[in-house]
Every structure is written in C-alpha cells, then in structure tokens.
C-alpha cells in the first residue's frame, strides 16, 4: 500500500517508467491503482530510434507487473516522510 500511497502523490508529475522489456517511457503520471498499473499521458520513449512504433503513441496504460523501475522526481518525494511511512508499515507488519 505504501508504494501505491506514494504514487498517488505523484499524479500529474513527470515520471520515467522502465519496463522489463527495456523500454523506458517518460510521461506525466495520470493515475495508478492498487496493482500499480500506471497510466501515462504525453509519453515519450527514451530511445525512439529503436522503438519507432512508439512514436505515434501519445498515452498508455502500463500493467503493473511489467514495470521494472519508476524514476521519480526527487523534488516531489518527501524522503523523511517516506522513511516514516516505511516505519509505520513495518510496525504494522510486526503487529500482525
């Protein structure tokens, strides 16, 4: 839930999603759901020469399971808060 929570605060921010098939897509994060499926708008693929078929694509829906990394804009992530959130989560996990 933590990652979902973090992604929710990043809506309308520019993120780069690296897929497991080595495709890197940069776009504006529109929405994310509990499965960490990602909807991107106004997308641009990192290496367009290698993926010409992606040039015409303007927005996309990415299934959460195919994502390898998501590069977040650091200025929009509160690291200390994130630490606290992880602490809370691990605390909750211990309680259970």
């Amino acid at each position: 839930m933590l990652i979902f929570s973090v992604f929710k605060t990043l809506t309308d921010q520019q993120v780069t999603v690296e897929l497991k098939n080595d495709l890197s897509i940069t776009g504006v994060l529109k929405s994310v759901d509990q499965f960490l499926n990602i909807r991107l708008d106004n997308i641009k693929v990192l290496d367009e020469a290698r993926h010409p078929h992606m040039m015409a694509v303007k927005n996309c829906f990415i299934r959460g399971s195919v994502v390898r990394y998501v590069q977040l804009p650091s200025e929009h992530v509160d690291t200390q808060l994130l630490e606290d959130a992880t602490r809370r989560e691990s605390l909750a996990a211990v309680k259970r």
Binding site: L2, I3, F4, D78, A85
Partner: protein, 933 residues
C-alpha cells in the same frame, strides 16, 4: 379396418342400406389411412383397369361452360329448398336425412377438381393432410347459405365463424336428398327391374372408379406431403430471414443463451395450429371428393333427379371460387398481404406479425406462382419492345438488382456485426456491478487510513499547509485526493456542506463501515478473505507492497532496548570494538551491576549498530506519539482524555529514556546521546521530539549537548571542511553539518531564546570548561553558530532590561551581568589569538587562480564568522573593541579594498564582501564607507 374406413360396412351392405333407407346414424367419418403405418395395404390390392369410360362417366372430356346462371337457378331453387327443408324436418326418419349434418360437405363437380388449370386450383389440395381424427363436432363448415359468386362475406373467409341463422350446406343437401328420395319412391316400383340390372353395372363401374380414384389419391397424397414439407421448410427459412432482418430494429438482441423465436413453445403452438388447419382442409377436400362419389352414384341411380342435380352441379364453379377464396386470399388480398409483409419488415413488432404467423398457409406458394405469372407476362410484354430497349432495360434491372443486393448484403453484415457485438450487452446486472464495486472499494478502504495510506495523507496535509490551503474540510479533501480510500477521522462534525457531497460521503461511509464490520467478523484472516476475488494480484498480498528482500526474524533481538533487530548490518559494524565478543559483553554487564556504588561506570560508546537500532525504536515511539496526538480526544470526554494523557506520558517517558540524556556524562566518549546524534536521522529526530519533551527536559538536553559539544561528529570532523577538494568524506561532513544546523540547532533555538542570563552564562562557562580548546569549537560552523546564539541572546536580554520591557530585580540583574561579564572576558581572552583563523577563507589555502565561484563561496562561508564577530563586538567592552579592530584590521581592509578597487569578479561578490564587513563594523558603530584607503 374396412375399406375407406367405413367401419364394418362393405359396399354391398352400404348399398343395401341406401336402398332400404337404412339408418346411418352411427356412420363414422371417412378415415383414410394411406401412407400411414396402420394402412392395411388394401389399396395396393385394387385392380387397375376398366377406366376406359371414365371420361365419359365423369364428364372429363368436354369443356366446362362458363355460362352458369347461379343466382337465377339458386334463386329458383330457394322456395323448393325451403319446402324440402320443412319436409325433412317433418320426417326425421327419412333415410338420408338421418345423416349427421356435419358429415356432409359441399359436393364439387369433377371438372372443377380435375380440369381446372388455373394456378390456384391446386393450392388448397396441396395443403391438406391426412388425419385420422375427424373431430366431427368441431369441424368447420363452409357456409352455403349464400351461393352467389359475388364478393364473399367475411363469414365465408373465416372458417371458424359461427353459422347460426343461415342454413348450412349440409342442411340443404339433406333436404335435397330427401326430395330426391321422395320423388324416387314414386317411380321406384316401375323401374325396379331395370334398376337391378343397372345396379349391377353401376357396382362394377363404381368399383373401377374407386380403384382409380384411390390410386390417384395416394399419388396426390404423397405429393401433398412433399409439398407440405417443402412449404414448412420455406416458411422456416423465410421466418429466419425475417428475424435476421428484424434484429437490428430490436432495441437489443437477445443474449446468445436465448432461443430464437421460432423455437419458442409459443411459436410451435402457432405452427401446430397451422398444420392442423391444413389437415382439416385436406380432410375437407377428401370428404368433398367422397361426397362427390356418392353424388355420382346418386346420379346413376336417380336419373329423374337430373334436373335438380344439374342445378347442384352448376354450383361447382361457385364452390370452386368459394373454396379458393376460403383457403387462399384473392390476388388483391395477396398483394395486400405482400404489402403487409413489407410493412412488417420495417416495423418489427407490428400487430401484423401475429397475423402473419397464422396467415393462410399457402401464401408463399401463391406468391411464388404469382411471381411466375408476372414474369411470364413481363416476358410477353418484352416481345413488343425492341431488342436494344430490352437490353438496356435488362442491364438497368441487373444493375439495380446487383446494387440492391449489395446494399442488402452490406446492411445485413452491419446488422450481424452489431448483433455480434451487442450479444453480451447487459450480461451483468446493476447489482452485479455494485457487488464488484463494493469488493473493489472494500479492498481499498482500511480502518486506519493513516496506517495504510500514511504517505499520501501526510504528504497531502503538508502540501496543503505549505500552500496555505484551508483544511477545514479535511475529510472531503482526503477523500478526493485519497482516491476514496480513506476518510480520515469520522467523528469530526461536519458543518455546512452541499447535499450531494453529504450523500456521497454517507454512501462511502456505509461501505467503509460495512467493510470494517466484515473484517472484524472474519478476524485475523480478514486480510486474505477477499484476496483473489477480482483476480490474483502479486500472488502474495493485495496490498501490492513490494517483496521484502530481507526476512529477519523479529524474535532474535540481542538487547531488550532493541525492539527488533534492524536488517541493515554492515561490515563496518562487524569489526567495531563493541561486537568483539560475547565474553567481553558479559564482563561489562557484571561490572555494571557490581560497580553501582556511586562511581560512574565507564562504558564503551554505542556502536553504530546500537545507535541505529536505538534510533529506529525511538522513531517508532515518535510515530506512536504523533499518532496518539492526532487522536487526542476532546477535553469533554474526561475518561478518554485521562487515559489518553496517561498513554501519551508513558510514551514520552519511554522516548526520554531512549534518548539516554540522563546517562552520566562520563559514561563514555562520545556520550550515548551524542552517538545518537551522529547519523543524520538522529539529528533529524530531535526537532520531532521537542514538541513532546517538556522545556525543562529540553534544557537538560541542551546542557548535555553543550557539555559534550566537542564530542559531536560535526565538531570533530569540521577541519575536513577546510579543504576545497570534493571528497566523499567532505561531502558527508558537509551534509551532517547542514543537518545539525538545520535540525539540532533549530530545535534548541527556542530554548535558548527563553534562557535567563545566568543560564546562558553557565552554559558558556560549561562550554569553555568542557572543551579543551574553545577556539577549536569556534572554528567549526556549529560551534560558531552556538556561540553566536548565546551572545545574541545576552544582547537581547540586555536590551530588554535597558528598555524595561523585561522588569527585573536590579540586584539579581547586576549579579547576573557581573557573572556574565566574567565568563565573557574569559572567553574573549581565549578566542582573541584565533580571530583571523576563525575565517574559513583564512584557513583555506587558495590556489593562485581559483575560480570565481569558489571566491564567492568563500565569502558566503565567511558570513557566519562576521556575524559572530559582530555579536562579540556588541558584548565587548571598549578595550576589547580595540583588540578586535587591531586583530581584524587587515581582514577588513582586504575586503573593502577588493570590493572598492574592483578586484572582484562581479557585483555579487563585491556586495557580499561589503555586507560582511559592514556587519562587523556596524556592531562597532562604524561603516565600511568611513574607511579611507
């Protein structure tokens, strides 16, 4: 089974009966069984032959005239018939009158049946079916009340119509028979002998005739059956086509699981009805034929009745036309029907649809025939036209046909596509959808939004507060930003809110409370109760948390203070002195317990690992405390308040203990508290604690900090900052220093700002005493900042006393000031030799051609020093001013000179330099502009 289904009566007996006027009361309806399973094969045993005179006998040779005067003849007959009827009613025992009227059918002339070449003549006969069940009572009787060939009354077109009032054909027939018998009886005796002979001939002839008829009938029977099958097939096909065409007109097509209409039981009923009708009609015809036979026999028998018989036979064509109209519509009606059909294709559910299903069964065949006729006529018309015209016309027609076909094909394909696409429409009901929505929402809704959605909630709150947004309606905002997953605290009373919002909230609240209730009911395993309800997620948890790489057993904690072991174990820690062996640990423990007699037990400083685990447990406590603070009950609820307060205080107490501030100073070097401050997250923890720890405790904390100032990593490592090369160590020290200035000093700032003068004095004295070299402390950023803090606080106190803003006892004030001045003097003396080296720019040895940015950076890092000197100058007595000026003269001149002579890279540097100098000079009551160069 008897021949022709006349039960237990052979022909001879029949004849006898007729002759004797025998009773036929119980005579059954003719039942024909050819082609059926129970057929006894008698028909095959019939002798074929002796048909030579058939044509003569049945009048098939000549043309049937069309000059019948039906109306006239029947009109003439009317009175006689009436008379006959009266007679028959008067004499019920008369032989032929005994026949049940329902057994009688309209006699038909042979010519009309055999020689009619009109396309419609065959139609009714093709629709008949053999039925063993005669349904005597329910049989529909064609009305013979009117024999006129003129437009038929609706009654005639509806076989079902009741026939009350008008006389039936049977009645008339019966009357006629009665009349015939009556007249016959008169001449019977004279012709007895002759008739016997004639009868012999007649019998033979009859037999031959009947054989022939039987064969013919069987033939026709088969034909009819084939025709029937074909017709049924055609009808089915047409219905399917119609259904296909009608589909797009339906609002929605039935889902695939539904049967087509043609297979529905209702429809089957209709078809059965149609078949029944056909069978009845066929029976009707058969009966007609049978009666015809009888008539013929009668003719043979009763020559003297010929005139009457002729009049009856003349009705043949009338019957024909009547029959045609009864069984099938006229051409006009057919056209109307076609029109209707066309209409029906356009309006799918018109009332005509119902009519069509039980419409006259031979419509299709008739249509076909009509079309053929029309084609023949069309071809005939063509003969007149020229070849070219014909060609053109044909081409045009072909083109139109192809076009129409194309359009039709296109339309059908489109319709099929739409039907295909929409076939799953509405497979889910609204309640199905609601159910799934509930599952989805209940997976997202949690009883504690702060636990499961902590980041988003707090981040949103921080963002809102940063943007200065009013958070009066916190819950709704949370709902909006939280994507419906958290409602926050529900006990907050809502003020004026739009109705729609309230309703939505209520709905979500209900869902939340239901989900909560369900979770409670299901107990511990509630988390997994709905797992996979909407498909597998990550295979592990629906919370979609990433897999934890390190799975550490929480029970294997080494010390009671460490609530759970931290998974991050670095190599560094493994080699640290604290973890050298368990034996050493045990020895230390025993020493601790034994040496508890006043002397401070020396201990090894906390290891990095211990620091980190302690910090984590402290963070957990802080989080708990913060969570508790959010749930602070209103002061009205006394019990809850008291309990909350107790819980809160306990937690704060734990925190305080965890900080190890009260551990004796000499326990270790560095002090455990200082060790805790070493990692940046330790430094960052302090500001979050100050809210909960009371100011007296904070003062203690600060005292400890001052006492152990030299032990701080940022002080010890400070010289690293005096090199300009970018190393990872320097970057780390820089980062830690910033964290210290930003977190620790910021958190003690409010404490210092409220300190009494004597406390400041004590603190400064403590700092001087505890640090071997106060100049070294002053050379560090944190030290300089702390000293500046103290000095400025004293200045503030002095000003407050001077202006009387802070009423103070002059005695104590004087004593305090005296104390302060003593400590300050001591401090000043200690620091004086190091004035120049306080400046980082002086300590840093610059390369010859340093980049301009470096120069500017130096000026910026010099700024705190100038500030400190300014604060020092304010506290200094005039003699000390002299010392200050002489010590710093070169530095001031250098800055002013480089600023005024333009030895600077840009305006920024110049201004910074001047600002720095002025900062100090203003404290002395001077200005850089006064400096004459």
């Amino acid at each position: 089974m008897s021949f022709f289904g006349l039960p237990e009566n052979n022909l001879e007996e029949e004849r006898q009966k007729i002759r004797n006027g025998g009773s036929h009361e119980n005579e059954d309806v003719a039942v024909y069984t050819w082609g059926e399973e129970s057929y006894d094969g008698l028909g095959d045993a019939l002798q074929e032959g002796g048909d030579d005179l058939n044509d003569e006998t049945f009048g098939g040779a000549g043309n049937v005239g069309k000059d019948f005067d039906f109306a006239g003849q029947t009109g003439l007959l009317e009175p006689e018939l009436a008379q006959q009827k009266a007679a028959s009613q008067a004499q019920p025992s008369q032989p032929f009158g005994q026949h049940p009227p329902s057994d009688r059918r309209t006699p038909q002339s042979l010519e009309s049946i055999w020689d009619d070449r009109s396309p419609f003549s065959v139609l009714p006969r093709e629709n008949g079916g053999v039925s063993r069940f005669a349904e005597r009572g329910e049989r529909r009787e064609p009305s013979t009340a009117q024999f006129s060939p003129f437009p038929e009354s609706p009654v005639l077109q509806q076989p079902n119509a009741a026939q009350t009032g008008a006389r039936t054909l049977q009645e008339i027939e019966a009357e006629m028979y009665a009349a015939a018998l009556h007249s016959r009886s008169a001449s019977q005796r004279q012709q007895n002998a002759l008739r016997l002979q004639q009868e012999e001939e007649q019998f033979l002839q009859d037999q031959a005739f009947q054989r022939q008829r039987l064969a013919l009938q069987r033939e026709r029977e088969r034909e009819q059956e084939r025709e029937l099958q074909l017709q049924a097939l055609q009808r089915l096909q047409q219905q399917q086509v119609i259904q296909l065409r009608e589909q797009p007109q339906h609002q929605r097509t039935p889902p695939p699981r539904m049967l087509p209409v043609s297979q529905s039981p209702r429809f089957l009923d209709q078809r059965q009805m149609m078949l029944l009708q056909q069978q009845e009609e066929h029976q009707h015809q058969l009966r007609l034929q049978q009666e015809l036979q009888e008539h013929i026999r009668m003719e043979e028998l009763e020559r003297q009745l010929r005139t009457q018989q002729i009049s009856q036979l003349n009705q043949g064509p009338t019957h024909l036309s009547h029959r045609r109209q009864q069984s099938g519509p006229t051409i006009a009606e057919l056209q109307a029907l076609q029109q209707q059909q066309l209409h029906r294709r356009q309006r799918s559910q018109s009332p005509a649809y119902q009519d069509f299903n039980i419409a006259p069964q031979n419509v299709h065949l008739q249509q076909r025939l009509l079309a053929e006729l029309a084609q023949v006529e069309y071809m005939r018309d063509f003969q007149g036209a020229t070849q070219a015209e014909q060609e053109a016309l044909r081409a045009e027609a072909m083109r139109k046909i192809v076009e129409a076909e194309k359009m039709e094909d296109k339309r059908r394909r489109k319709a099929a596509k739409i039907a295909h696409m929409s076939r799953y429409n509405d497979l889910m009901t609204q309640s199905d959808k609601d159910f799934i929505t509930r599952i989805q929402v209940s997976q997202l809704v949690t009883p504690d939004p702060y636990a499961d959605d902590f980041y988003a909630q707090v981040y949103g709150a921080i963002l809102r507060s940063r943007m200065g947004l009013q958070t009066q309606d916190e819950r709704v905002l949370k709902f909006g930003t939280g994507g419906g997953i958290s409602l926050g605290n529900t006990q907050k009373v809502a003020t004026r809110r739009p109705n729609a919002m309230q309703r939505m909230e209520q709905q979500v609240e209900r869902i939340v409370s239901n989900a909560r209730k369900r979770e409670e009911e299901k107990g511990l395993h509630s988390l997994h109760s709905l797992q996979g309800a909407l498909g597998k997620t990550s295979g592990r948890s629906y919370k979609a948390a990433p897999r934890q790489l390190l799975q550490v057993d929480d029970n294997s904690t080494t010390s009671p203070t460490l609530s759970h072991a931290h998974p991050h174990i670095s190599k560094e820690d493994a080699t640290s002195p604290a973890s050298e062996g368990a034996a050493k640990e045990a020895a230390k423990l025993s020493r601790e317990t034994l040496g508890n007699t006043g002397n401070v037990v020396r201990k090894d400083p906390l290891t990095r690992r211990q620091v980190l685990t302690t910090l984590e447990s402290l963070y957990d406590l802080v989080l708990k405390v913060e969570h508790l603070r959010r749930e602070q009950p209103s002061p009205e609820e006394e019990d809850a308040s008291r309990q909350w307060r107790k819980e809160y205080d306990d937690l704060v107490e734990l925190l305080w203990e965890g900080l190890k501030v009260m551990v004796p100073l000499e326990t270790s070097n560095p002090h455990p508290f200082v060790s805790l401050l070493t990692p940046s997250k330790g430094k960052k923890l302090l500001p979050r604690l100050t809210r909960h720890i009371g100011s007296s405790r904070m003062l203690t904390l600060m005292t400890l900090l001052v006492a152990c100032f030299t032990q701080l990593d940022v002080v010890r490592q400070a010289p690293l900052l005096d090199v300009l090369e970018e190393t990872s160590e320097r970057a780390e020290v820089e980062r830690q220093t910033q964290a210290f200035l930003g977190s620790v000093l910021q958190s003690i700032l409010p404490i210092v700002a409220n300190l009494e003068l004597h406390v400041v004095t004590a603190l400064l004295g403590l700092l001087i005493e505890r640090s071997q070299d106060i100049a070294n402390v002053a050379k560090t950023k944190p030290g300089l900042a702390l000293l500046t803090l103290f000095l400025s606080r004293v200045e503030v106190i002095k000003q407050a006393w001077g202006t009387g803003a802070e009423p103070v006892d002059p005695m104590t004030a004087g004593a305090s000031l005296e104390q302060w001045q003593a400590v300050f003097d001591q401090f000043f003396v200690l620091i004086t030799p190091h004035f120049l080296s306080l400046f980082p720019s002086s300590r840093i040895t610059l390369q010859a051609h340093h980049p301009t940015s470096a120069a500017l950076a130096i000026d910026i890092i010099d700024q705190p020093v100038w500030q400190f000197l300014a604060a020092l100058a304010l506290q200094a007595v005039p003699e000390q001013h002299q010392v200050l000026v002489t010590s710093l003269r070169d530095k001031v001149l250098e800055n002013v000179l480089s600023a005024n002579k333009g030895w600077v890279a840009d305006e920024d540097e110049r201004r910074t330099k001047l600002a720095n100098v002025n900062l100090f000079l203003h404290a002395l009551g001077l200005d850089s502009s006064q400096i004459a160069l």
